[in-house]
């Protein structure tokens, strides 16, 4: 009787776990497996051939370029915004906090459309730009702009709670000891937030490389020119070129896996520095 009681009890305990596990398998693991099996199902040769195709290489190059511009920009913006918000009191501070969250609240497609309406041929600045022969929409600058917009919150979001918890005392001490604001920032503030910053950059990068919606609206889908990896996957898929589509998709999946691994490592190794003030 007793043994039965215990085992039925542990079965009840195990049910939520089983439920969660099956969701993880069905929704997360299986799609990942499908990407790789589909990509490889005509063999490694076909797989690498698909990746070496000029349009695929161009898409890879563009994705890396866009991330290489957008991520450092957002690193600087994010640190500056978090620093201003947490270390100073100024009018409009609350508004700035809300504005940082705006890209998370707005659908990426809308974000893309905003830029088309602003910088497109018939947009507000369209004629002015056309006169000067500057193309933003359906060109790389538009893709960068859309990506910067969509990935803006990630760095600031990681930093603000941490810097708020850390307070200003460390900087105040540094300045009382004679350090200039710059010296105080580089020798005290930055080391205190370095792991959270890395974490934010990692998330920002993953999103920058994987962004589809906003970029899709502003890119114009010109093969070999304005196609990023996610857009290229869509095109290949629509052309029933499944091996190539999944091969390119596997690159993005790999990026996700690497991000995940780095993220876990950061959380495991420097969880304290990410979560709470390291000043105390």
């Amino acid at each position: 009787m007793k043994a039965l009681g215990v085992s039925s009890r542990s079965l009840v305990d195990a049910l939520p776990l089983l439920g969660a596990l099956s969701v993880v398998v069905v929704l997360l693991v299986m799609p990942l497996l499908v990407v790789f099996t589909e990509a490889l199902h005509e063999g490694l040769g076909e797989y690498f051939l698909a990746l070496r195709e000029p349009d695929a290489l161009a898409a890879l190059r563009l994705t890396l370029t866009v991330a290489a511009i957008a991520v450092p920009l957002n690193l600087v913006f994010g640190v500056a915004a978090a620093w201003a918000i947490t270390k100073f009191e100024f009018p409009g501070r609350q508004l700035l906090i809300s504005l940082i969250d705006l890209p998370l609240a707005v659908s990426p497609v809308i974000a893309g459309l905003i830029y088309v309406l602003l910088y497109g041929a018939h947009g507000w600045f369209g004629p002015w730009l056309a006169e000067r022969d500057i193309q933003i929409i359906f060109a790389v600058p538009g893709i960068v702009l859309a990506t910067v917009f969509v990935t803006f919150p990630y760095v600031a979001h990681e930093l603000i709670p941490l810097m708020q918890a850390q307070g200003r005392e460390a900087e105040e001490v540094a300045m009382s000891l004679g350090a200039s604001p710059w010296r105080s920032f580089f020798t005290v503030t930055l080391p205190n937030i370095r792991f959270a910053l890395l974490y934010g950059v990692l998330l920002c990068n993953a999103r920058a490389m994987g962004e589809f919606g906003a970029v899709s609206v502003v890119s114009g889908h010109i093969r070999g020119e304005t196609n990023t990896l996610p857009l290229h996957v869509e095109i290949l898929y629509n052309e029933y070129n499944f091996v190539a589509a999944f091969a390119v998709a596997s690159l993005l999946a790999l990026l996700a896996l690497i991000t995940l691994a780095l993220k876990s490592w950061l959380e495991w190794r420097h969880g304290d520095a990410l979560a709470s003030g390291s000043v105390r």
């Binding site: 460390a170 001490v173 540094a174 010296r183 020798t187 080391p191 000043v279």
Partner: protein
């Protein structure tokens, strides 16, 4: 270095925090800013240090107006309650920070810097910890590192913001004695903020008592304790008991009972009689005094603390010996040193006759633990 604060006011937005303060601190003095939370003591310290700008008024160092100087120029050694050590640097680098931040022309050679840091670490008795990181030190050790770091820049003044607030009682006691010793050695003008009256009275040459952004009293620990200038100081520093009494024709009355305490003829109406628990005399029956019911007797260290009920008002007194009667008995008492305050008025209107006081044994100081 001397500090002079003139007509200093500070508001945060519409919220006034300091009201037109004047304060002069002599060279080499160790001064405590004492007050309850919200009294403005930390704000005052931060304005002196240059971490906050005054809304109005001046701060002078050695007669020179430094109000507009940035904190870097003021050369103040700051120590915070939670140490604010640089966690990613070793103890050595923490102490060396101020030396390395000097303008290039004034920077020490690496060997001179090492020597200076080692001297400071020896002063705070942490020589063997120089390569440790702050996270591996106890609270008391961290606070000593913070002090060494502040001393490294040869500050003109040392500003300590609740320096012992985060430490447990034993460490706090040790560190207090030790700060006193460092002060004897360096003779640096030192200002420290505390809400702990024991700390202020024990450590400081002079104590500034603040309340609601105003200075209630400035004085030596003896003056603050024995001669409180206001009712607030009387109640805030040291223990006190208070009885609501009536004054009729220059005599104090409690209900239908007349106390043989005489005050001036010009005082009338309801007042508060305030006295320290140790300034209560026990009278034999028939000697007059105030009748009170003994409620409880507690042993507090070497002395006894008794709770008394005087016609519904609860007070307590302190005695050298256990009273000879059991709780519930009626006893007679008389405050020997007291002050009379009009309700709503901070200054005392009357006090005990000074002649009486001469005969009294010197009051032993007792404070809240």
């Amino acid at each position: 270095m001397s500090i002079r604060i003139e007509n200093l006011s500070k508001s945060f937005g519409a919220q006034p925090v300091l009201h037109a303060l004047d304060l002069a601190i002599g060279d080499g003095e160790l001064v405590a800013l004492l007050g309850p939370s919200g009294s403005g003591k930390t704000t005052l310290l931060r304005v002196v240090g240059g971490l906050e700008q005054a809304t109005q008024g001046r701060v002078c160092f050695d007669g020179e107006d430094v109000s507009g100087w940035p904190i870097q120029q003021r050369k103040v050694g700051f120590v915070f309650q939670h140490y604010a050590l640089f966690q990613h640097m070793s103890v050595f680098e923490n102490v060396a920070f101020g030396l390395r931040a000097r303008p290039r022309a004034e920077r020490l050679s690496e060997s001179a810097l090492h020597q200076r840091v080692r001297e400071l670490l020896a002063l705070v008795q942490l020589s063997e910890f120089e390569l440790r990181h702050p996270g591996k030190l106890s609270g008391g050790q961290q606070q000593r590192v913070a002090l060494a770091r502040a001393l490294a820049i040869d500050p003109r003044v040392l500003l300590l913001d609740e320096p012992f607030g985060a430490l447990d009682a034993q460490v706090r006691k040790e560190l207090r004695a030790w700060v006193r010793a460092v002060h004897e050695q360096t003779r640096l003008t030192t200002l420290f903020v505390t809400h702990d009256q024991d700390e202020a009275l024990e450590l400081a040459d002079r104590v500034v008592v603040l309340r609601d952004g105003r200075i209630e009293q400035i004085g030596t620990p003896d003056e603050i304790y024995d001669e409180p200038a206001t009712r607030f100081v009387h109640g805030f520093v040291g223990e006190s008991s208070s009885l609501r009494v009536q004054v009729c024709h220059g005599r104090l009355c409690l209900g239908d009972q007349a106390l043989d305490l005489i005050v001036g003829r010009d005082i009338e109406g309801e007042h508060d009689l305030v006295f320290r628990p140790q300034h209560v005399q026990w009278l034999e029956a028939g000697q007059g005094g105030l009748a009170a019911r003994l409620l409880e007797v507690l042993r507090v260290g070497p002395r006894f603390r008794v709770g008394l009920d005087c016609q519904g008002q609860r007070i307590h007194a302190e005695l050298d010996a256990r009273p000879g009667v059991a709780p519930g008995a009626l006893v007679h008492i008389k405050p020997t040193r007291w002050r009379l305050y009009r309700r709503e008025s901070p200054q005392a209107v009357a006090r005990e006759n000074r002649l009486e006081e001469e005969q009294e044994r010197p009051a032993s100081r007792r404070r809240l633990g």
